[in-house]
């Protein structure tokens, strides 16, 4: 044994997680026995049938954009409104493909109602759970993105409402009093809304939508009262001249992603992940394009509709009750 091997033993684990991971592999638990392994998933045969019957893949230009949930025999679908734009066809688990039309959207829940165009075809709608607020620790099951297998996990937190998150310009403001006549922009987030519109570091913000601003808080409040996607006019002073910019606001979490290590470690996340009336939280490893489908309990009953991939431990699902109420409104 040479001294470098000895060294690696002694500094074992001290440098980074990577060193540790190199040291482990001898007696790993086989992949099939793990939480999302093949053997474990086999025990979910009953649930799988229910998941496959009521989940569809929504396709645009040959690409999966989001999942959907079959809610009636006639082929009505619920899906995530902000993710289903341009959906042309619905593909079922058996590979059958049908054209779809969008009927209505519900901004409050971010749900959309779609119709599968298939005459004389009877579909198997999702069976809703009567459990209004399902207890944590219960199994949660959804179809995987390809609708070939399952992803499993548990109901992992207290059901709750998720507050609205206002839009952002994507700049970091300086302290009050650092600039005369307004608030200086200390940093501009590259490629974010403000940068795209033309705002620059050092600009002094004087007005938001025509209203004069003197303090940081005023800017944050005025901008935050608008939603992502809204256009806000920002007036600034640069080199003693006044400029006005039209900024299409961005999402807070997406805009500041580069500063958030947790989000960097989470892979792709959903754009809209706020402002839901009531959600349940689970730990299923699903990508954003697998939102819109049902999440089932162990008995194959839908306890919710997957609505937002939030980070690597969190997915929000609208509760069955909220989804059914929204469906009623949409189908009126």
């Amino acid at each position: 044994m040479n001294s470098s091997v000895f060294l690696s033993r002694l500094v074992f684990g001290l440098c980074a997680g990577l060193l540790i991971s190199n040291a482990i592999h001898a007696e790993d638990l086989s992949a099939s026995q793990r939480l999302n392994g093949a053997n474990t998933r086999k025990a979910f045969a009953k649930t799988k049938q229910a998941a496959f019957a009521s989940t569809v893949r929504l396709i645009r230009n040959g690409k999966l954009i989001t999942h959907g949930t079959i809610v009636s025999k006639e082929g009505l679908l619920l899906t995530k409104a902000s993710a289903c734009v341009g959906a042309r066809e619905a593909v079922l688990a058996d590979g059958q493909s049908y054209p779809v039309r969008i009927r209505r959207r519900d901004e409050k829940t971010d749900l959309a109602l779609l119709q599968i165009m298939a005459k004389d075809k009877s579909f198997e709608p999702v069976q809703w759970s009567s459990d209004i607020l399902p207890k944590e620790g219960g199994w949660m099951v959804s179809a995987d993105p390809k609708l070939k297998g399952l992803k499993v996990g548990v109901n992992s937190g207290t059901p709750r409402a998720i507050k609205r998150e206002g839009g952002v310009i994507g700049v970091i403001l300086g302290r009050d009093g650092n600039a005369t006549g307004g608030i200086a922009i200390a940093e501009v987030v590259p490629r974010a809304a403000g940068a795209t519109a033309g705002l620059k570091k050092g600009d002094v913000v004087t007005k938001v939508n025509g209203k004069s601003v003197k303090r940081r808080e005023q800017v944050i409040e005025l901008v935050g009262s608008h939603d992502p996607g809204d256009v806000v006019s920002i007036e600034v002073i640069r080199d003693e001249r006044s400029f006005s910019y039209q900024v299409t606001l961005g999402h807070r979490s997406v805009t500041f992603e580069m500063f958030n290590r947790n989000l960097q470690m989470s892979g792709p996340v959903s754009k809209r992940k706020d402002n839901f009336p009531m959600i349940i939280q689970h730990d299923l490893p699903l990508p954003p394009e697998a939102m819109g489908g049902p999440v089932l309990d162990i008995n194959g009953k839908a306890v919710g509709l997957n609505m937002a991939r939030v980070d690597r431990v969190t997915t929000y699902a609208l509760t069955a009750k909220v989804a059914q109420e929204s469906l009623k409104t949409l189908n009126r």
């Binding site: 500094v11 540790i20 219960g138 199994w139 548990v154 969190t314």
Partner: protein
């Protein structure tokens, strides 16, 4: 033949769903769900968030007088004042004690008066590969409305200084407890890997082994390891004890005539069973200071007084 088949059936009946190699059917899954739901409320009571400056982590209270297990990288420094947040959101004062960045085990103590909710610690060696487990903590920071977050998984690998599971973790979970299906703490969340189903935990064994030195605020960090004393032995944990498998040339261990095969028993009168304990005992003693080492060579009990050296700079480290 018939008998054998019957006894096999009986044996299978005795195994709980979570003790099988994997759940075999719907009933096994229900049993796992019911078990988790049964032990979860009690387990959550002792889970805390730790706030220090801008950073936040998690922890778990394991003694009524307020000893909190967490991660070494959460406490950072010893003797530092931090806030501990109980599940109901109440903040209490605490102080950081010791830890070790080898396993990433760390300790703090609540300084306010009061009896605290506790989670039982698993005994040494009571967890193994394949065990079902669940992670608790405050991913992304404390959120009263959301509460403590549970994630299910299994132990996928275990080594002396680390446990690996497929329970999902996020920043803010660091220091939070990993529970077994008997409701006992078997590990503390340490590091995440790029793959979300391969995360790392400091094993409870690291706390058992280093309890005294952690309580005495001994904290082994990368820099304290670099600047601390150096003996010059490489060891392996064996059934017989901590066995020397390498003696570094030109080290004080070589001068003191340590040999491959010697079993290290005590340092300064304290029993030593693990590599981490030895490293802490040596590195938290400065170069030039002496330690008394009791060791065994075959049947012979021996004692050596060794003046510790300085850690040599290895070329392999220079690329950092």
């Amino acid at each position: 033949m018939q008998l054998a088949a019957m006894s096999l059936c009986l044996k299978a009946d005795e195994l709980k769903a979570w003790e099988k190699p994997f759940p075999e059917n719907h009933e096994d899954l229900i049993a796992i769900q019911e078990r988790l739901r049964k032990i979860l409320p009690e387990a959550k009571k002792a889970v805390v968030a730790i706030e220090s400056g801008g950073g936040a982590g998690s922890g778990v209270i394991v003694s009524e007088d307020g000893i909190v297990l967490t991660a070494a990288h959460v406490i950072g420094k010893r003797g530092k004042r931090v806030k501990v947040r109980l599940p109901d959101g109440k903040r209490v004062n605490a102080i950081t004690l010791g830890g070790s960045e080898i396993s990433d085990a760390g300790m703090a103590e609540i300084t306010d008066e009061g009896g605290w909710p506790v989670a039982p610690m698993a005994a040494r060696g009571s967890s193994k590969i394949g065990d079902w487990c669940f992670a608790l903590g405050h991913p992304g920071g404390f959120d009263k409305e959301r509460g403590i977050i549970v994630r299910l998984g299994r132990i996928i690998a275990k080594e002396d200084e680390t446990i690996q599971t497929d329970s999902r973790l996020l920043g803010g979970d660091s220091g939070g407890p990993l529970f077994d299906f008997n409701g006992r703490v078997i590990g503390i969340h340490s590091r995440i890997s790029k793959k979300d189903d391969q995360n790392f935990h400091a094993p409870i064994e690291a706390f058992h082994a280093n309890w005294k030195s952690f309580r005495e605020e001994k904290l082994l960090t990368q820099s304290s390891l670099r600047e601390g004393g150096f003996l010059g032995v490489g060891c392996e944990e064996t059934e017989d004890g901590l066995k020397v498998i390498e003696v570094v040339e030109d080290s004080v261990a070589k001068k003191a005539r340590f040999r491959v095969g010697d079993i290290i028993v005590k340092v300064n009168g304290d029993f030593i069973d693990t590599r981490e304990e030895l490293t802490i005992a040596i590195a938290t003693t400065g170069p030039g200071k002496s330690v008394i080492i009791d060791y065994r060579r075959g049947e012979k009990e021996m004692t050596a007084k060794v003046k510790l050296g300085k850690r040599p700079e290895f070329e392999e480290e220079s690329e950092e």
